[in-house]
Amino acid sequence: MVAPFVSEVEVAGHIIDGLILPKILDCITAAGGSFQIKRISVGQERKDPSYALLAVTAPSQDQLEAILADIRDHGAAPIVEHDCRLETADRDGAFPEGFYATTNQRTEVRRRGEWVEVRDQEMDCGIAVDPATGAARCVAMSDVGRGQAIVVGYHGVRAHPQTRDSERNDAFEFMNSAVSTEKPKGVAIRQVADEMRRSRDLGQRILVVAGPAVIHTGSGGHFCELIRAGYVQTLFAGNALATHDIEQALFGTSLGVRLDRGDIVEAGHEHHLRTINRIRRVGGIRRAVATGLLRQGIMYECVRRNVDFLLAGSIRDDGPLPEVMTDVIEAQSAMRQKLANVGFCLMVATTLHSIAVGNLLPAWVRVVCVDINPSTVIKLNDRGSFQTLGIVTDVEPFLRALVDELVKGPGAAAPHGVRV
């Protein structure tokens, strides 16, 4: 993606009462630019001036300069740029006071007059600068090491709001209004399939974050088809998805419910415990596949197809399965390592894992969040990026239609969308 052209401007005075600020913002958008209000302070009394700091973004340098010239007439002046300020971390695991808190947007820091792109972009982190190389990267609070140079304050830091890609007319463009159960899902699913194909063609990794409802709703088979067709390179999940998937493989049930008939099996509630126990006895999922104990299902396919899976634990887990990482900081850090070159992320039927991964992803990674519960989708959309597309639907018909599109060819899915 081409970095947008950005300049910061400030405007002061009675810009609210005089409608100068809205006028400036309108001028920017009318000229094809966009803005981000980075700071604003509103005068308390009538006579007190207000102040706004804006980041103005335009698709080209010429357009940016035209916008700056126009808004200059209304009092918006480019700010004098400073280098970022660095402070040395005085202890492990904590930032210096006043550290710059990151967003998920593409960010640059200014060092010796040059803008340097921040690597490993992630929200709610700090920025560490290597004084020797000048390289900057996001660093999580828990990973701060004493002596690291950390960016403090706002000077010399600029975040680029994610711009729309005008050349691509895609689902992310027209489906990004408020999450709704009323949207035509067939169109959205077709576009999601296009995105996944595109990521695969570009050699980018596709990450799927999945919850146990994938199994409960009987969608495990669809998921396996996606893996076999090469549309899943990384899987993030918890103990539950793996447990119920393996329970289904070993017992034909999910939480004791027979998935082919929908009835409850005698003593079926014990199946998941017996499943975990068996896997622990053989030493883990990979061993279970190697020994022939596990012969089908999502985890089986992951092991067979070298899908890079990571299972992160939670406090209410049974067992857990040996592969489950129970230290959340360790799990978070491991997830971060696996995000390199992820170009697309599909989140299905999980709230907590989706939000956790949403927090780790930079704003430019396209995310599709599918859940029967609108509030999960809304939470993900609230990441503030239009790169997140929310689809409110049951997981099973979604995955079935997605497999139809991807595996059986474009247009194979029901033309009027899935039945939900």
């Binding site: 005075g13 100068i20 006028k23 009538r46 007439d73 009092g75």
Partner: protein
């Protein structure tokens, strides 16, 4: 009893259309010096009759627009923010104006060299707020600079019609809560800001705006304008003002009228409650 108004004026001895810096000015349509002198004297008489006391600025050869004292400065109490004219043709007036204010007990304030500001022509108080026209003659940054110096609210208003190039050609505060204005001279944001901030706004119609109806001098409850504004005068009378007309056509040729020819030195009526 209306307090005595002090108004600065400059006799039109050297007035004329010697250059063209606004759409009204046409060198082929010169001002009649004798008629201009008569009209100027009649305006003086009308203002005195309304209770004003006049101070005079000596005319200077080669400075034909010095007669428009509204553009000499913005007066705020004992301080005079002297203009910095956008057009080179008028820059010679700046030192004459500064000298007059300095020798008449005002503290002279000079704006940074990079900013244009054309005095009370573009800056008018209504209540405790200064309304400031920008983009044609004055810069918004000049208004922001002045706002910091006087610690008052300053609302910038973008002017969009070159015929109404100064704020005082399309806006005239009458009291702290009422003003005349000609809406098409402003951009939409400025119109909205005026409507939101000023409780009583009297709209002037296009034909009377062209007669400089908004370029009015307010002394107490008397409002003095050019001739040819009968509907505005009727409205003013209905609002309890005394409306007075006096012919100023020779000055209209130059793009000015009653208000442009005056500068209130003791604070406009509209700043009083």
């Amino acid at each position: 009893m209306t307090p005595t108004a002090r108004i600065l004026m400059c006799p039109p001895d050297h007035f004329g259309i010697h250059y063209e810096i606004n759409p009204w000015m046409r060198r082929e349509r010169p001002a009649d010096a004798e008629a201009a002198a008569e009209q100027w004297s009649a305006l003086c008489a009308a203002l005195r009759a309304a209770g004003a006391e006049l101070a005079l600025l000596d005319p200077v050869p080669g400075l034909p627009d010095l007669v428009f004292t509204a553009n000499a400065a913005l007066v705020f109490r004992e301080r005079a923010f002297v203009s910095r004219f956008r057009h080179a043709e008028r820059r010679g007036e700046e030192s004459v104006d500064a000298e007059w204010f300095a020798s008449n007990g005002f503290e002279v304030e000079r704006l940074p060299d990079t900013l244009f500001f054309e005095g009370a022509g573009d800056a008018l108080f209504c209540g405790d707020t200064l309304y400031a026209g920008y983009r044609i003659r004055s810069d918004i940054q000049a208004h922001q600079w002045i706002a910091r110096r006087i610690d008052r609210r300053v609302i910038p208003l973008e002017l969009v019609d070159p015929y109404y190039y100064h704020l005082d050609t399309c806006f005239c505060p009458l009291t702290s809560s009422a003003a005349l204005y000609f809406p098409p001279a402003f951009d939409a944001y400025a119109r909205t800001a005026l409507v939101e901030q000023i409780p009583t706004l009297i709209e002037v119609e296009p034909d009377e705006a062209r007669r400089f109806a908004c370029n009015a001098v307010v002394v107490g409850r008397t409002v003095v304008t050019n001739t040819g504004c009968p509907r505005l005068h009727a409205r003013l009378r209905a609002e309890g003002f005394e409306a007075v007309e006096t012919p100023l056509d020779e000055f209209v040729k130059s793009g000015g009228s009653a208000k442009c020819l005056t500068l209130r030195l003791d604070g406009e009526e509209s700043t009083r409650t």
